[in-house]
Symmetry: C2
Subunit: 210 residues, 2 copies
Amino acid sequence: MRIRHVSPSDIERESFNIIWEELESRGRRYSPEVMPTILRVIHTTADFDYADTLSFSDRVIERAQGAIRRGAHIVTDTNMTLAGINKKSYEKYGGRIHCFMADRDVEIRARQRGVTRAAISMEKAAELQIPLIFAIGNAPTALIRLIELMENDVIHPELIIGVPVGFVNVIESKELLMECDVPFIVNKGRKGGSTVAAAIVNSILYNMPY
Amino acid sequence: MRIRHVSPSDIERESFNIIWEELESRGRRYSPEVMPTILRVIHTTADFDYADTLSFSDRVIERAQGAIRRGAHIVTDTNMTLAGINKKSYEKYGGRIHCFMADRDVEIRARQRGVTRAAISMEKAAELQIPLIFAIGNAPTALIRLIELMENDVIHPELIIGVPVGFVNVIESKELLMECDVPFIVNKGRKGGSTVAAAIVNSILYNMPY
């Protein structure tokens, strides 16, 4: 076999070393604050495009970690992201992780109003009235509704991870988000996804200073 | 807003039209059998690299659909893929979908033997003694163990979807799989992932002839 033996505990470290070296050879510099997130997203996707397109608002990792420590809850737009976030690590800070996409009431309200379940999910999240982090890995319509809810002063998120993927209103919704006065992590362009959203949350979590 | 209004039911169709046009402009031709899978993977990732790297064994879609109709179960190596497969559509054919990664016995056996939980998950699947489709979106060690189990005549999968992602033994494990006498769908190279594995299963499912 052409397979090299690598012990389970070494696989991730060796992967990160390879990513680190390839990033270094490209000669780009990143701030130490955002580097763990860039590394983990590339680890999750094997796609170095993310090194050029991931965008961070000022001091966003520090702010996100503060929100997690204060027990902020996370709302996602896919059950895949929900499954991908390290729940045990997250919930020890007191917060919980929600996805309302498969809820019966969300489906009914979406059909009645002719909008996506993702948009209704965001309205349902707004009703929680607690500090929230949004991890949006799929639906630009979720991002668009969040922006409207912020403009109408209905929600004030601690962080919006805006990494929907696709072809219809995806680029535009991300550009709009980056103009908002809210801490954000966005992947510019069409790419993103549920695994990317989960990787970003986990990267923040695994690098909590305490 | 620069957002165009697109009704929920039109978003997916419009996305697929955009992907179709971009693929056409590249001038590559694909067989009608595999086209729905290529389209859906690009829809999931917004990454046209997959048009060049997705690889299919002979008549694999037809064979996979036959296996699904006969009630084959699916085993995945991540709970994210499990969450991403359309369970309602799948289970109406009689099969079920499993992920053993978080099982306590898998964790214990992996630690005792110094191998990954993904490898042990495949052994646990082999014990099921029923027709199986494997959807591997994360761990090359799962793929490697599957190949060993086939070589030792322990399992005879109906289909292996081999789309692990990453940097250590990922390319090699996929190359080995494509040399095996088993129906496969593989993404050559480093890319892949849980969302890709789920998209491949769903593409097969959504195009069942009856």
